[in-house]
Chain length 376, copies 4
Amino acid sequence: MGRGGRRWRVLHLTVLAAGLLAIAISSIDGLPIWTDDVLTAIVVLVAVVFFGEYLVRLWAAPESNRFAGLSDGMARLRWALSINGLIGLLAVFPVLAITFSSIHAGNEWAPIFCVFWILKLSVHAPAMTTLARVIANERATLASVVIIFVMVLVTAAALAHMLERELQPKVFGNIPESLWWAVVTLTTTGYGDVVPKTVGGRMVGSLVMVSGIVVLALLTGILATGFSEEERRREYLRVWDQVTRVPMFAELGTVTLSEIVSKLRVRHYPPRIVVVRRDEPGDSMFFISEGEVEVRLPRGSVALRQGGFFGEMALLDRLPRSATVVTTQPTTLLVLYASDFYEVAANIPSLVEAVEREARRRRAENQGAPAKVETP
Amino acid sequence: MGRGGRRWRVLHLTVLAAGLLAIAISSIDGLPIWTDDVLTAIVVLVAVVFFGEYLVRLWAAPESNRFAGLSDGMARLRWALSINGLIGLLAVFPVLAITFSSIHAGNEWAPIFCVFWILKLSVHAPAMTTLARVIANERATLASVVIIFVMVLVTAAALAHMLERELQPKVFGNIPESLWWAVVTLTTTGYGDVVPKTVGGRMVGSLVMVSGIVVLALLTGILATGFSEEERRREYLRVWDQVTRVPMFAELGTVTLSEIVSKLRVRHYPPRIVVVRRDEPGDSMFFISEGEVEVRLPRGSVALRQGGFFGEMALLDRLPRSATVVTTQPTTLLVLYASDFYEVAANIPSLVEAVEREARRRRAENQGAPAKVETP
Amino acid sequence: MGRGGRRWRVLHLTVLAAGLLAIAISSIDGLPIWTDDVLTAIVVLVAVVFFGEYLVRLWAAPESNRFAGLSDGMARLRWALSINGLIGLLAVFPVLAITFSSIHAGNEWAPIFCVFWILKLSVHAPAMTTLARVIANERATLASVVIIFVMVLVTAAALAHMLERELQPKVFGNIPESLWWAVVTLTTTGYGDVVPKTVGGRMVGSLVMVSGIVVLALLTGILATGFSEEERRREYLRVWDQVTRVPMFAELGTVTLSEIVSKLRVRHYPPRIVVVRRDEPGDSMFFISEGEVEVRLPRGSVALRQGGFFGEMALLDRLPRSATVVTTQPTTLLVLYASDFYEVAANIPSLVEAVEREARRRRAENQGAPAKVETP
Amino acid sequence: MGRGGRRWRVLHLTVLAAGLLAIAISSIDGLPIWTDDVLTAIVVLVAVVFFGEYLVRLWAAPESNRFAGLSDGMARLRWALSINGLIGLLAVFPVLAITFSSIHAGNEWAPIFCVFWILKLSVHAPAMTTLARVIANERATLASVVIIFVMVLVTAAALAHMLERELQPKVFGNIPESLWWAVVTLTTTGYGDVVPKTVGGRMVGSLVMVSGIVVLALLTGILATGFSEEERRREYLRVWDQVTRVPMFAELGTVTLSEIVSKLRVRHYPPRIVVVRRDEPGDSMFFISEGEVEVRLPRGSVALRQGGFFGEMALLDRLPRSATVVTTQPTTLLVLYASDFYEVAANIPSLVEAVEREARRRRAENQGAPAKVETP
């Protein structure tokens, strides 16, 4: 994401927060009359900004990657009907509601605006896609957990109703009431508004609580397994996208490359961030796939651009960092950890050679034209 | 599962939900008298449907795979005594109870029908077998966690009883009462109906709460480890069942094949589902092991049947999808992710060749007979 | 564990349960006087049984594996000072307390007997050793989680005390009182006996709750990682102990063997258990390392002893089981799952050959002497 | 950490505990007047000790590894501005506050000292760095979980406010009030001070509880995955630092070595600790990278120093330990488990040879000069 992107994100989140805050404040009773006008104005303003965003996005839809092959009109229609398009439309609804009806901030229906707006947050959570894929991949297993959950709920509610209705007709008097108790207990929330008092009811309750922690453990196990596999796949694709921009990897064959790709990690840095600090111990080397860094050596600074690498001494000689390295632009680095470097080296001796050769070449170059492309 | 299977499932779940709902409503007090007759009728109807299901399943038992070698009578007896047979019989009980006695919906014993019926849900949760195997495999370790659980419970109840009985004789007055508090606390449910008030009691309570989160963490760790291993094994068998239907894998030796099998994933799709969408980025290729898909190219549609594959360009050239692919029948696909493709390629160069050769062959074929078997 | 061992375990647990139950009942107020005598008698009896167990174990200590090299007296002293020895002594204490003082079941100090006795449960939880090793291995990381836990507790208690003492001087009036609230909140137990009411206090409370789920997630992550590694190591040793009893593995070299050992699983079966059932699909083969099984073929039964294997057809030909196999003695089997068989086969082609050769040899033998050593 | 280091740690923790306890006690109402003076004295003393520590650390900053290349003044300034420096300064604040103003133990602002001091605990939690790196590495995914958390919170608060405000205007009367309920429910704390009572509100509440356990499961999955990977990397570096001190590994090539490094585990032992006990079964061998151990054989004791190894018979011959081994100094050992030994052996036959050769060499040496460097 470039500088413009980050500025846009901050602005978007600020507008969103302002809107939600205005609605939240307007729901408080006993505020002076004039605040209602101010808050309504803020809500309208926020909705107008979102309306503008909606129009811009609708207009720009044909340029989007996803609708590349379609005619302009079709691309816009498709975007309008996509999830993002519909969320965008819902977020605009408040301005219409306030303009054309008596709904305003402070009105009893205003809190629903919060729900429309908070959905826009999902744009800022790219990992939500990962989550959706995990749920899709594990849907058979998750469905079984949901079925276990429902079976425990219904059984518990029916039994607790039978055992407790005599003593507590108000809260266990019918099965729907009992279900509320069962949900509160199975999730181990335990409000305490409904509590079994007979010996039988307490036994049922104990089993429900234990089932609750078993269900939680199962759910965690399934999601953790699926999540870790999905993350591995996404990271692999992210690295593959970046690795082709580093010339020294281009020399390697596909097979060797695919081995390395699974060991590299992608890290995005904004400008003016210290990546490594002189004299600190290091456990990784870095390849620049995008952007530029400044290597601050004692006798002056050196710029390293796309395709360059630094930090290899920490891996080859286990020495502390010999220079501080700072990003000068938004920069993407590929990180290779020491633990993986030697694992890779065991299978692919050519990598060690390549790194050493490149390092030697640069040093030689540096002696002819001093302090130009030295690496820390 | 075919179309009939899916329809049957929807019907079965609807009948089940209707029955449970009727019982739940009939437990509410103060309903008009006539509702009782209506609800009793629904309950009888649901039980009759389940009775019919029971008879059909009993009759069909000899055709089932599991009882293939037995005589018809023996196969039916064996099914009747299996877990599914017994659950089926229990679900029929309500109709007998209503016909031959004074029990009806609204009666105080009716809620127990819920418990009989909800067990039928387990038929729709195939992953419950996985769960059962995980518990069987890890039973030694799980037993130890249960023992830790019981040890903490009894110790906590005895100590809390000794420390709190003076101040709160009503709720800590004897050990069984104290046990209820211990369960509620150890599962971190915390109703708040019983709360220690002495300094000693609160210290014991704090330790019980901390033990609670440790027990949960242990349980999660054990189940997560066992679950991930069991899932790997089941997926392997699922893939092995499918992979032999794809001719191009049949050419490979067993050793190469077993390497590939552990990297493939099975996905079942109903008809009319978009598998890949034109212009979207892709990270996987697909082999058809059952069913048929329609490849929607700009100049017309093409059908791909069992043994075909598509999506390989996303892996070979890292291009976006060149066509939309939609299933026309219930279809089973084998998915190979990019991250695994190159891993496999590193060990088995022949796969890359095979995919490339097959792709080249098809293109050549297509030039003779245009737009027949092209792949996206 | 042999038959005697299992009988002993059931007896031991029954005695333990009887003792705990007697104490629990005696703590209930308002029982008739005569029950006190009966319950005291039961408690004394249980303690006497445990005293007998203590003496037997003390006597048998020199025969134990652990103290093999020591003189008899030293071995007994060492056992008496070991954890199990001390627990054994504590469990005997009640009989002394009742005999030599006025303490009896129903007395206010009797509940402490529960705590002494429940410790004996740990003998039945062999996986507790695994747990202890995991905690020892991860102690540095776990200590950090405990430190985070304490830091959040103290900070939360101090801040909540400052923010809430005005409004709720009774429950937030001093820091020790506040700490109780902090523990109840951080473990997400949430009794509700102490609840912050100021805006500041609620913000602190919200952060504590969120910290609570983060701490739980961390703890789970650490224990799950450590547990899965420790289980792998223990299983490896268990298999290694068994694998040398199977002659066909003895032919393999150490390197090949160590590859196989990591893929096998040990399963202990009591007698008369169905291991595989005819006509069911199979995903594993079995090697007998101890005991005996009966293979029930249509034309008669066959016994297989130590060193034999069965179920290989499910792996080689993917057919359903051709016979039911039942254990006739306590039997230890080594399981090889299909998913691992082919993985092993990819690295060690000799295994497939060995299994096929052995299977062929047996069939040939069977034709000479029919129905003697056929495998399902 | 040497002996001095451990003594310092115990002292530091004692002073810290004394300070926190003094503040905690002083917050209790109704103490006699004179206690205030005593407690104030303790608080001042603790702050003075921390002041001394601050000065010593500031003075010693130039000798620290991190600031090796800087001038003395710069190094001190840099340390003063580092996190540890600022925490050190904050911990000194109480003594200034008490000296120059009317604040003293028992004063209403004193509890804030707890917060300043408890931060010093973080010095004793080295794994906190691991934790910080995990959070940094997984920040994109964790941010998405936080966004899901906020979305559920705001949606739940807005909906519950709309559904419950009629019935319970006091606790659901405005959105900020509703948010408190949403946090308490989403973290499954469930105080029970605010509970929905309408059917709609309870449905929203049920969904929030279920979301709560899903969020916890996700968080656990992410942290567990990241944690296990980070631990692997740190352990690799720890082993790499130690492995070069063992001469027999120095003979191996880098590639072979990197394979072994990933299988070894580092364990630090204080003096006089029993590492292995005679006659117990063993599953690991040990290499000494620092310190010294005493091997207690039947005919006398033998010292083993840096570079030595012991316990190899447990791996080669699967025999119980033939000697007890006790540390005589703070000692660092590299552990190789049986499960990993054979895995390594499968890839690197030279290791088995090296261990066997070394063992043979020693035995030969021992026969010339008996009982000198024998290993158990």
